[in-house]
Symmetry: C2
Subunit: 308 residues, 2 copies
């Protein structure tokens, strides 16, 4: 039996990286041989958390079938968000907090999804259910994941369970979540020195909605206007991504982490779906959606309703 690889989605965010590491630690404690890997380098926010808690970034892989038959997915299930050769290996487990779509197995598996704000909140339960103590560094990473996914508990995806888990983990990690959290989010919102291509790939996910292929990217920032100074360059890059990937719709969320609003920039054949889903009219391919910060809860279901 080869070592099971544990990984999250492409364009990894803090929850994906932290949950792969924290679940691998738990599984290894339970006597299984696993390794956390990642489908890309950590972003600035995740690197801040890894550095703070002195944990190495997971090894980056582009394929897995060359080294294992069995994998465990965290923080995602949809094929197009996973490793390129996912169909060649057996998925033994999934720990996730997203909708289930474009996912299929030939055999029974362990699948644990809960409608909470963060995969790490579920992991916090799994540690308890299995009677394994959470060490300080793992607690720190799991707390970072919850802060990241919930935008410091302000996202509508954030549940009571996430807040409670974060409190428990902050105690073990010996940090003040508000102070540590804002520092971490700011590290992630530091966009300096990045090309537009890099900015758009920090946190970008693809979805199948009916017959439509839709990409939804999100950039967190403390100053949307600074980013919008490069509006025409951003649109050029988005247009070429649409052509390259044969997308029907591209939606970019530029999220202000201080005010919790998002500017939506959208291009593609099906921009009509954005107007219909949010009852707005894009002007110059843009519109501001007040109070919208969550791709999962405030963008994807609404677009799916229109397009699927």
């Amino acid at each position: 039996m080869s070592k099971k690889l544990i990984f999250g989605h492409k364009n990894p965010d803090t929850d994906t990286i932290a949950s792969a590491i924290a679940y691998s630690y738990l599984k290894n404690k339970l006597g299984e041989e696993t390794e956390a890997v990642a489908l890309g380098e950590p972003n600035g926010e995740t690197q801040f958390a890894l550095d703070y808690f002195k944990v190495s970034a997971p090894r980056v892989v582009t394929t897995v079938a060359n080294e294992t038959n069995e994998v465990i997915l965290v923080d995602h299930n949809e094929k197009q968000q996973s490793v390129s050769d996912i169909e060649e290996v057996r998925v033994r487990e999934v720990i996730d907090h997203h909708r289930i779509a474009n996912f299929e197995t030939a055999d029974p598996l362990y699948y644990r999804a809960e409608p909470v704000g963060c995969t790490a909140t579920i992991l916090n339960k799994l540690y308890k259910e299995n009677g394994v103590d959470i060490p300080k560094d793992m607690a720190g990473l799991m707390l970072s994941a919850i802060i990241s996914d919930s935008l410091l508990f302000k996202s509508p995806t954030c549940t009571e369970e996430d807040v409670t888990a974060a409190k428990e983990l902050a105690e073990i990690a010996e940090v003040d979540p508000e102070i540590y959290g804002l520092d971490m989010l700011k590290a992630g919102a530091d966009l300096s020195g990045k090309t537009i291509e890099e900015l758009l790939s920090i946190d970008s996910k693809q979805f199948e909605m009916g017959d439509n292929l839709v990409q939804v990217a999100q950039i967190n920032t403390v100053d949307p206007n600074e980013l919008l100074e490069q509006e025409s360059e951003i649109k050029q890059v988005i247009s070429s991504i649409i052509t390259d990937k044969n997308l029907n719709l591209y939606v970019l969320m530029i999220t202000n982490i201080l005010t919790n609003d998002s500017v939506i920039m959208s291009l593609g054949d099906r921009v009509d779906a954005v107007n219909q889903a949010f009852n707005v009219t894009l002007e110059n391919d843009k519109v501001t959606l007040p109070g919208v910060v969550s791709r999962k809860k405030q963008i994807v279901p609404q677009l799916t309703d229109v397009l699927a």
Copy 2:
């Protein structure tokens, strides 16, 4: 908010009925308003268990969207095994022990699947996790489900967890699992007075494997030869089901619950897949597979490998 309906698959078996009832009991104890319903009448085995533990059979429904917006699935997830209007309601939870296929949601949900032999084994855990005591009648039904799905712990799908759960439940239910279990299985294997159409619909599930629509039915018996006296009539009925449902393959398992072997009878355009999957040659559309009792573990994955 309308009452959530909880139900298992079409052609309900003991696990599907028992798990719907036992999970509804648990959810109601936790303060949610739910009702267990069923997509068909209980079979002879299930009715034996319901009578023994003095529980009423769930109300039979053919659609759900006319009375609720929200449902909880137990013991299945594949659309074609579920209620006909499943796409019109929101699936809030799934508790299951099968592969995941042909299942998709627009929103996050609670999904708890484990690779154990029976849904009731997972429910036994959920009662504990939620700190709810299992009453005698619920324990009896859950025990019946485990005995049914594991053919009295002899199926290869049966895990250590199922055996342990059954022991705990038998104690609460105050029955000897071996004695009660054989009586229950025999009640299910009593095929007298049933038409061939009824026999074939006792426990029959449909699967999509690649582009193929495959129906796999199972009949438990203590005397396969008695059934095979009506071989030509059975084949006539199967042929008309294939035409009616546009099936590519029909597989009937006639399982001897005393010897734990199955006679496979198979018709349809893709019977070649049966020969290939089990490395056999059907003779007169039949072959005996020694030690094969589990559709889930010993039939479906093998056929899926060939057909998908």
